[in-house]
């Protein structure tokens, strides 16, 4: 198990993510946040490249763009490191809308449209193209109930997205988010293990992170038991 972890690409990629996240932050700051309402197209480009191309299962491309921008305001990429965008919280939410959160699909459709419509009406640009300051102002207006189009309320919609963004950032990577264990590293959670000694507990967040999914552990990998094939190619 330990050998596998050492081969994991997670550590180098995490360093790259930190670097690129701070570069984006610098670019935004140098542009003069107060005057520059719209950030260049490059900002919408994901900082972290997915390992392979994947389809959106539920959301439309435009919905995913708006949602990614919102998740990035909830847990931002900033000078303290990567956030929900790099953790691919939207990938998690998209998958969950096809399964456990299917009942929220309509609320996502109407809520994301309401936010994007409001952004275009107020600033002439889609939400995801606006500066972080303008995006925050719109989200605050949504929470205050001043933007129409939510069911049942703007604050309800925001809380739902916040809740799912937390799930997408901090849940087991098996579910499609927490890419490269960004969420767990952010909290200095040393990761999923099957047993922990007293001396490991005493290291607290300084314990070297395990960087594995629960389902990398053979005991819990149903696919191995039923078909003889491994789950994630490790």
């Amino acid at each position: 198990m330990a050998e596998k972890n050492n081969q994991s690409p997670a550590n180098p990629s995490r360093r790259n993510l930190l670097k690129s996240a701070s570069l984006v932050g610098a670019a935004v700051a140098s542009g003069g946040a107060a005057t520059q309402a719209v950030v260049g197209q490059n900002r919408a480009t994901p900082v972290s490249q997915p390992r392979s191309r994947e389809a959106l299962e539920v959301l439309t491309a435009a919905e995913a763009e708006t949602l990614e921008a919102i998740t990035d305001r909830i847990i931002p990429s900033d000078e303290n490191g990567p956030g929900a965008r790099e953790a691919r919280a939207v990938h998690y939410i998209d998958r969950s809308l096809a399964s456990d959160n299917a009942a929220s699909r309509d609320n996502y459709g109407s809520g994301l449209a309401a936010i994007d419509d409001y952004a275009r009406r107020l600033h002439g640009h889609p939400f995801h193209r606006l500066s972080p300051e303008l995006q925050d102002n719109i989200l605050l207006t949504v929470i205050e109930g001043q933007v129409p189009g939510f069911n049942p309320s703007g604050s309800g919609f925001f809380n739902m997205v916040r809740n799912h963004t937390i799930e997408g950032t901090f849940s087991d990577p098996y579910y499609g988010g927490n890419q490269d264990f960004i969420g767990w590293d952010m909290l200095r959670y040393p990761g999923v293990r099957i047993g922990v000694s007293a001396s490991e507990v005493a290291q607290g967040g300084d314990l070297a992170p395990a960087h594995q999914s629960a389902y990398d552990i053979p005991t819990f990998t149903k696919v191995i038991a039923s078909t003889g094939r491994g789950g994630n190619g490790n």
């Binding site: 200095r188 040393p190 047993g195 490991e200 507990v201 290291q203 967040g205």
Partner: protein, 568 residues
Amino acid sequence: MAINLPGTDVVVVGLGAAGGVAVLPLTQAGLNVIGLEAGGWLSSRDFAPDELRNNQRNWPQSVQKAAQEAPTVRAFSNTTAKQGGHPMMNAVGGTSMHYWAQSWRLNPWDFKVVSETTSRYGASRLPAESTVEDWPLDYNELEPYYDIVERTVGISGKAGNIQGRIDTQGNIFEGPRQREYPMKPLRSSPFTEMMSDAARRMGLNPFQGPAAIVTEPYDGRSPCMYHGFCNKGGCHVQAKSSTAFSTIPKAMDTGNLEIVTHSRVTKIVTNRAGKVTGVEYLRGNEFYFQPASVVLLASYAYENTRLLLLSRSAAFPNGLANNSGQVGRHYMSHHQGAPVTALFPHDLKNWYGLPAQGTALDEWADDNFDHSSVDFIGGANLWAHTDRRPMTAARMGTFNMVSRNWGSEWKRFLMENADRTNSSYIQKTTLPYSHNYLDLDPSVKDPLGLPVTRITARYADNEVKIAAFAQDKMEQWYREAGAIRIVRSGLGGAMGASTHAYGGTRMGDNPETNVTDRWGFAHEVPNLGILGGSVMGTSGSRNPTLTVQALAWRTAEYLTRNWRSITS
């Protein structure tokens, strides 16, 4: 029409913490037992360390029969009850599969609240609307059953009172035990050591609590691995002493236990003479009638009550064993809420803890202190435990230290404080009241069209006063340990569905105020036994499961010794 099955000696309805224990003495005595269980078998492979599935999506409870019949809840009888969640689980082993596994004995006072309070403070100190009675048995009578369950199920802990000899490493307030726990308590942690040190500076006696979690190889099971996913998770190495891994396999080894999974009992059947003849259950799309000489009802307090109320007959027009009108009365759910949450200026190293790994103070529980100068009876056990996972940490309160709970400022707060908070678990004495009861909901039904249980209950003044008093004590303890911020939760209102559910079929000598006799058999139905928290008349200020199991063993043993008279 139901398909008639061959008869058996005993049918046990529900193979959880209670029924799963009772089957062992029954089958060891040579009785043929059929266990009907609504859930199925789960194994170690099902218990992945997966916070999203277990703790956020509530996988252990979400696909269960219990989810389809969750009770409705209201605080007052003049309002409409709304269906809420439920914490129970259907599986072989029941809720003992995924519970916290704290396994306390009740304090001797809990068995004799009326007489002890009256003699020490006067009868006027009993809350006016409370229906509390002394139990028909005392602590000493239950002690041998606590002992045998601790050995057979596998409980770890440290004794504080062995035959009157006090040991400050354990709970100095507990009733006398005949011997030490079968194995040492769960290990301490940097956090529990810090809290214990603080308590000792305050002149108090902290101790590590007892748990149905094995701490050394026991009965072929592995000791606890401390991986941090015990809360709402089954154990991946079977260290948690669920009945599915302890008593039920032993009962199966006798060859006298047949388990029927995925069976949903819909009715307990009686004859004209008012005796039970068996149970009717649904499995797949077929109804079956399982005849039995004795029926032991061992589901949760909510379902025990509901099945009785649903089992109307000519002899029992208001529900089985309910000609007294006592079924559903004296309901309590334990006052477990009103926690205190603390923020410390350093990491607590709690990433790999579990709810049963903690340090306790019993100074203000039960009648362990002089109540002359306070305006309530009973008290609270204070429990500081290690239990943290990433999403739980990310959802922590922010102690008013950030302007909003999203964005860069909040993210920075989380990064700094994810491992710096702790929420206490404070269990308080809860008494039964005339205004708190269970009955059938008049409009909400399960998928079979049967009404669900309705809870009408709220915490009364006595419980709310205990909560406020206990919060003071908990805050002082946290402050002494170095906490820099404290948040207290509300003191409690409506009593929702809880794993700590008591009453509905209370045990007592008086058939006009109790459903079962002192052995757990219905006053009105001699061959119907009832197991579970539903027979308990007081809650104590600690988890109920060990007492439920000791009572279940005692009822089962009584049946084996009195088989002829009970079945004649």
